[in-house]
């Protein structure tokens, strides 16, 4: 094993920043990290840690199509957004300071601890996967506007992943990055599906984090871990990434019209339904936060719908009488499916799968709400 001691990039600035949270570029961050590496000696404590192998996917897409994007129709907004990301307002934010209270992991109720760690690992993996995807797009693209955007987003995602990783380490969970030497398959996403899914994932991510942040501002007694204090700046990064994807979609009106509206509806339904089902798997986590998962889901969907009006011509009708009961049926079918799978009951499994599919179709066929998409796309975080 070769632990790097030399700067990976001779052009990387070495003066100025002394903490990687202050680093402006990936290269500068790496250079500082090498300096710090000399002082880190944690191998001994890692032996006793619970090992969690990160298993992100690897992706390919149509890179020619990506290169063909022309942002000149949104140039003004685009340059402003990129400048803001280059200026990196959150540089230096993602580090522990005196606000990072001591966490009593040993005193934490076991079920809560389990669910909270699961929450941290899934967040870390998602940030990490975003980083892998964005970096790949940066590396294989040739269009300067696009590669710059993906480089900046990869920087943010790696920073978030590192921050969550540190919280996990405190809890005695070591993230294992050894997956690279396992055989891995590259899957394929069409560029437009990357836009829909990542746009939504960034915007719903913003809505999720800010909802928890505001709730804990009002109810600090429920803040059982200091990481929640960092959610505001964190979600502002998510917000900017979402803005970039909104502008990308704006460059090609076909992406948000015609039969693509059905794809948008599909992604909205799938993302909302997935979130609902997953969140209901963590009852102790939500109880500790003092949050009712049904209230939370409704709140997040409302905010996300409002935000996505900037570019999508439709929103889901989450007030429709069929919406909530069907989500509950989907959740129930999902639990039954897991039980049937675990106990090897074939017909029970088939039945649960059919109920889940029927619930999804029922959600998907609720008529949408249509609206006029505003001429100007850009939004600022306001929640």
């Amino acid at each position: 094993m070769n632990i790097q001691n030399n700067a990976p990039n001779p052009d990387a600035p070495t003066a100025g920043a002394t903490h990687t949270a202050d680093a402006t570029t990936v290269e500068e961050g790496l250079a500082i990290q090498e300096e710090q590496a000399k002082f880190d000696s944690v191998a001994a404590t890692e032996v006793a840690m619970q090992n969690t192998l990160l298993t992100p996917r690897f992706y390919t897409t149509d890179f020619d199509e990506l290169d063909a994007i022309d942002v000149s129709s949104v140039r003004e907004d685009w340059d402003k957004l990129i400048d803001q990301m280059v200026s990196d307002p959150n540089k230096g934010h993602f580090r522990k300071n005196e606000d990072w209270d001591h966490v009593d992991w040993d005193g934490m109720e076991p079920q809560l601890k389990k669910e909270f760690i699961d929450f941290l690992i899934s967040s870390c993996t998602a940030e990490f996967s975003g980083c892998v995807l964005y970096k790949e797009m940066k590396r294989r693209g040739a269009n300067k506007d696009i590669t710059q955007l993906f480089q900046l987003m990869a920087r943010d995602e790696a920073r978030h992943a590192g921050f969550i990783n540190d919280a996990l380490r405190e809890a005695g969970v070591a993230v294992n990055l050894g997956f690279l030497t396992q055989k891995k398959k590259y899957t394929y996403f069409r560029p437009k599906f990357i836009y829909y899914a990542t746009y939504l994932s960034e915007k719903i991510g913003y809505a999720r984090y800010i909802t928890i942040f505001r709730h804990l501002e009002a109810h600090p007694e429920h803040r059982f871990h200091p990481i929640f204090k960092w959610f505001e700046e964190w979600c502002n990064d998510e917000f900017s990434h979402g803005e970039a994807f909104a502008l990308l979609m704006k460059t090609d009106p076909k992406l948000t019209s015609g039969k693509n509206v059905y794809w948008i509806k599909f992604f909205l339904t799938a993302v909302y339904a997935t979130m609902y089902v997953r969140d209901h798997q963590r009852p102790a986590f939500h109880k500790a936060l003092g949050v009712d998962p049904d209230w939370y889901a409704h709140e997040v969907f409302t905010k996300t719908s409002k935000l996505t009006e900037q570019i999508f011509p439709i929103t889901l009708d989450i007030e429709h009488p069929r919406w909530q009961p069907t989500l509950e049926k989907l959740q129930k079918a999902n639990v039954d499916l897991a039980e049937a799978t675990a106990s090897g009951r074939f017909f029970a499994k088939l039945g649960a799968q059919a109920r889940a599919a029927a619930a999804f179709v029922s959600l998907f066929t609720i008529p949408v709400k249509k609206h006029q998409v505003p001429a100007s796309t850009r939004l600022e975080p306001a929640y």
Binding site: I3, I121, A126, G178, V271, Q281
Partner: protein
């Protein structure tokens, strides 16, 4: 590349793993310009690469690229899109009841 047969290729690659506080990332770069297509599999040879916390490991390794058959490539192009949901922060946990 055949309709049903896989091809194997060797490619030198550079692996970079950062296990640092501010940047947790891992990337593989092929040094001979090899391009990955949908459905291809990549195996980096040698010991598992572990970066201790606070360090970056960069290593030159040999990788085998297992090229997907034409049919498999087509299948991945058709079905891969549905895995896109994994990019959502709340999609990862495999366990339904914790």
């Amino acid at each position: 590349m055949g309709l049903l047969t896989k091809d194997f290729e060797r490619a030198p690659c550079t692996v970079e793993i950062s296990h640092k506080f501010e940047s947790l990332h891992a990337h593989v770069r092929f040094n001979n310009g090899a391009v990955i297509y949908p459905g291809d599999e990549v195996k980096v040879h040698g010991e598992e690469i572990m970066a201790p916390f606070g360090e970056i490991v960069v290593e030159d390794r040999e990788a085998t690229i297992i090229r997907a058959s034409k049919l498999e490539q087509l299948w991945t192009r058709l079905t891969g899109d549905f895995e896109v949901m994994e990019l959502c922060e709340f999609s990862f946990s495999e366990e339904v009841t914790l």
